[in-house]
Amino acid sequence: MTLILEALRYLVYVLIFPGFLFCFLTGLLLCGIDRKLVARMQKRVGPPILQPFYDFFKLCGKETIIPAAASKTTFLLAPLVGLAALVVIQLFIPVFRFSAFSNVADIIVILYLLLIPALSVILGGAASGSPYAGVGLSREMVTILSCELPLVLVLLAVAKTVGQALGLGLCFSLTKIVEYQMEYGSLILKLSMLPAAAAFLLIIPGETGSHPFDAAEAETEICEGPLAEYSGAPLGVYKLSHAIKILTMTSLFVALFFGGVGRGLENLVMMLGVSGGLAGALIFLLEILVLFLFCVVLTFLCISVVHAVTARLRIEQLFKYYWTVVTGLALISLVLAWYGL
């Protein structure tokens, strides 16, 4: 009986929260908010906030053409694998005190899992056989390369800071990182973590492939690059993956740097005088709400504003930018963390 309940619990995790359904709703909502914000910044009315949902369902209803030159299985399977990987990453990222699967993966695993969605784009593009996809996937790969170095540095800096404070030497567990912040306040309040947070903010648009770092999927020059031959439902899945990746990156940022906010929420509920099971539920709901608000703010900061004010970078400029400016920021943070500031 308990076994069935356990299995049911995990199924709920995977399918509803923080798994598939949550990702689907929040991701597309974030995407819609982003589009609306960009439109408002350009003095446009902009699409309705639910526009990404319409796009997704429309694509589901369209015909899926498989080009004769494509390898069918890879072409159809690649988007699904990418989406599944993103959902799985979301399962590993704790929502303040709540984490669905805390003892399965650490941040190095997440670092590698983040490669899989990008790889699914690359593999799908390669399988389509289009030369536009060839150009696009090579740019996608360079984008991955660019983001990887600063991302590694940021994660190592966080691991060092938390590990030192906990007396472990180093700490790769995301759950522990969040717990530490619950206890001692958010990492963003530390001097040494400020450059790391800034670097991570700059990584978010690169990882999600949004403006100005979208050289890989430049629709005006290489026909959306790797997605050039995709149509119908698989294309919809890619669009969905892109939306979920925004959620993943922003909520990873919250978990890494704003974990301490959960403590404040708990205190708030305590002050209201609620106790028992009700308090737990209230805290949980509040946490989800706060997480969502954080995600919206971060999306606004890193994706919408940047989109509205910049033009697309060429791929070698992108690489240079990440390996100099962003890496420099992350490196400063790592060195500061190393000497315990």
Binding site: R35, A39, Q42, K43, R44, V45, G46, P47, P48, Q51, F53, Y54, D55, F56, F57, K58, C60, G61, K62, E63, T64, I65, Y132, A218, E219, T220, I222, C223, E224, L227, A228, E229, Y230, S231, G232, L235
Partner: protein, 147 residues
Amino acid sequence: MFKKLIKESTGKSPWLFHINAGSCNGCDIELVSVLTPRYDAERLGFQLTGSPRHADIVVVTGPVTAQSLDRVLRTISQVPEPRCIVTMGSCPQSGNVFRGSYAIAGPLSKYVHVDVDVAGCTPKPEAVIDGLVLATKILEEKRGQMK
């Protein structure tokens, strides 16, 4: 339920693919101006895409020159169902001032079924938006007929 959702969504999210079949660029510029802040077709869900595989509505401008005919037809055939074809400006409908030239293969309707014609040289952005909205309705209908 899903079917209804999809049908409604199809009407709310039409993506455009623009083919220049020998146009003088007047219509092309007007099509872009449809997406600018003043007219903002994006509020209706319109979006320009880079690949015909992503498109719902194909907008053809220009008198369909003999050189471009083959390419136009191939590109149109590559758009997945349901799709709508909109001609923009007088050129693809009648040949306009180029009518009778040896280099012209148009009008487009000789080769494919055209759903909406937006006439004018060039049509005003309001007219273009009107035509596109009409195409959207047709698109929704076509989606409804699909199983």
